[in-house]
Amino acid sequence: MIVFEKPHALTDTVLHYCPGCTHGIVHRLVAEAIDELGIEGKTVGIAPVGCSVLAYNYFNCDMIEAAHGRAPAVATGVKRALPDNIVFAYQGDGDLASIGMCETVSTAARGENITIIFINNAIYGMTGGQMAPTSLVGQVTQTSPYGRDPKTQGYPIRVCELLSTLDAPAYLERVTVNSVKNVRNAKRAIKKAFQNQIDGKGFSFVEVLSACPTNWGMTPQKALQWIDEAMIPQYPLGVFRDKEA
């Protein structure tokens, strides 16, 4: 008999995320990976500032809340102090690719042996839907009410591609969670990003294209569709670096 159980690495706290938000799926995938690899007892997670700011309440492993954008620096400190532990940061697009871009690039360039899960939903969710560094051209947000205009607001940043210019990263992959098939694939990628760290391979990074129906102004179903129609053409899925391969 197959019983659908909550992963042990998730606490019983009820998630605060909006209906149709994919944070919950990704939390679960991270927790499943931690369970399956048997690393909960030695894992230290870093929560960002943004919608997943309360992630420290949801994961059963030890958790540290970082300042906005600083999770990779905090993770670096933790990993240097506890080299035998497993350290992951869970960050959104504003946190990782805007205010924290310096920390992101530098940590990747050092090849810190940590795992980063990057939630790219092309918007600032927590503060009510402002333009993110990854918002698409023409995307309407609270701070791009006429649509993102490249002339004054520039173009979205492709983080995996940017990091793939560096020598040090061991693993860079972009996935999404908008279908059962894609969720399975995302699970594989996230687990690999943790396995890499266990194996001492170095900086492992998984970007997850995620849905924000609330701030996109869409139904959850439409939001999942929008990932296919609008996001993937801008952010192609795939492996950008795999030192093993």
Binding site: I64, E65, V74, G77, R80
Partner: protein, 356 residues
């Protein structure tokens, strides 16, 4: 005590931190504190420690935050403009009740300012350098020996009270060499830190290192509790040095390099029959208010000698409840008052010609 060696102030900080058991240093290059990083870069790899040149001051303080969250001692060092950048991280350290050492070898400001010595970060750091209600322990060394001794003490008390500590020096203190007796190696840090994020080993509920609390009632409670701890610290951890205060009629208040300069002026003033003494605050937070208040009953006037626009003068006036006039002898922008200038101020006060 070990044999006497000759060291730069900055090097003495680094060695004293290592002797206190610190094995993690994160920094970013900035004059005039570069020797701390250089020393750590040489030494840490040889003793199994971490030296990491961070991508920014901000990253450095957050790496310190990460190490501190695991219950290990960590430090960073910088100079004034860099401390502005670290303010965010210092606030988070305070909010998460984490111990760490931040060294500030001050230079002139504001803005990029200059690279010559200054004491103009006084207000900034004694009020809690960052957003929110908090304090950091602030130590102001006045010799290379104190650079070493107070580094150890700062670590020890940061750990005891689970809060950040700052060693507030200036360019002169950092660059000068003096004989110093280094302390014996010790471990200023408990090995058992049940609050730390080290992995649950599946044996305990998870630890959360955090400064966020969305419930105002809870956040208020935490702030009140923290300030109860601060009150205890103000009661017990003030440090100061008194110099020729027994019969003093004028009391100089100075720290760091200006206290050294003032000493020369006091010796000269005494030769001229002027009864001058000095109270040198060694901790700037907590500020030694009581001893100053007591002195206010004895002396006719106070003279603050500072390398800023009179920032500490306000604390002195507060401490003595404006009972006696407080005058200021100051240079700024990287300039250091000379003993002659201090002596001039002393004479003016003695002649009743210097308005407070």
């Amino acid at each position: 005590m070990s044999e006497t060696v000759l060291m730069k102030g900055n090097e003495a900080i680094a060695e004293a931190a290592i002797l206190a058991g610190c094995r993690h240093y994160f920094g970013y290059p900035i004059t005039p504190q570069t020797e701390v990083a250089a020393y750590m870069a040489k030494k840490m790899p040889k003793i199994g420690g971490t030296f990491l040149q961070a991508e920014s001051e901000i990253a450095a303080i957050n790496m310190v935050y990460g190490v501190a969250a695991t219950g290990h001692p960590a430090m960073t060092s910088s100079s004034s403009p860099g401390i502005s950048l670290k303010a965010e991280g210092i606030s988070y350290l305070a909010g998460a009740d984490l111990p760490a050492l931040i060294v500030n070898v001050q230079r002139g400001g504001p803005g990029l300012g200059g690279i010559q010595p200054s004491q103009s970060d006084y207000d900034f750091v004694t009020r809690g350098p960052g957003h929110g209600d908090f304090h950091v322990l602030v130590f102001a060394p006045s010799s290379v020996q104190e650079m070493a001794d107070l580094t150890g003490r700062a670590f020890h008390l940061a750990w005891k009270y689970r809060m950040p500590a700052m060693l507030l020096a200036d360019g002169t203190m950092g660059q000068m060499m003096e004989p110093v007796n280094l302390p014996e190696p010790c471990n200023a840090f408990g090995d058992d830190n049940p609050w730390a994020a080290t992995g649950t080993e599946m044996k305990r509920p998870h630890n959360i290192i955090n400064s966020l609390d969305l419930s105002p009632e809870n956040l208020e409670k935490m702030n009140f509790a923290r300030f109860e701890r601060y009150a205890k610290i103000e009661e017990t951890e003030c440090l100061w040095e008194e110099y020729l205060m027994d019969d003093a009629e004028i009391c100089i208040v100075a720290t760091g390099i200006t206290a050294r300069v003032s000493r020369n002026a006091i010796v000269e003033a005494r030769k001229q029959g002027l009864k001058v003494g000095m109270i040198r605050p060694i901790t700037l937070w907590p500020f030694p208010k009581k001893v100053l208040a007591q002195a206010a009953d004895q002396v006719k006037a106070f003279l603050c000698v500072e390398m800023n626009m009179g920032q500490m003068k306000q604390d002195v006036e507060l401490a003595i409840r404006c009972k006696k006039p407080v005058a200021l002898c100051n240079r700024v922008g990287g300039m250091i008052p000379t003993p002659d200038e201090v002596l001039d101020s002393i004479r003016k006060i003695a002649e009743g010609g210097m308005e407070a």
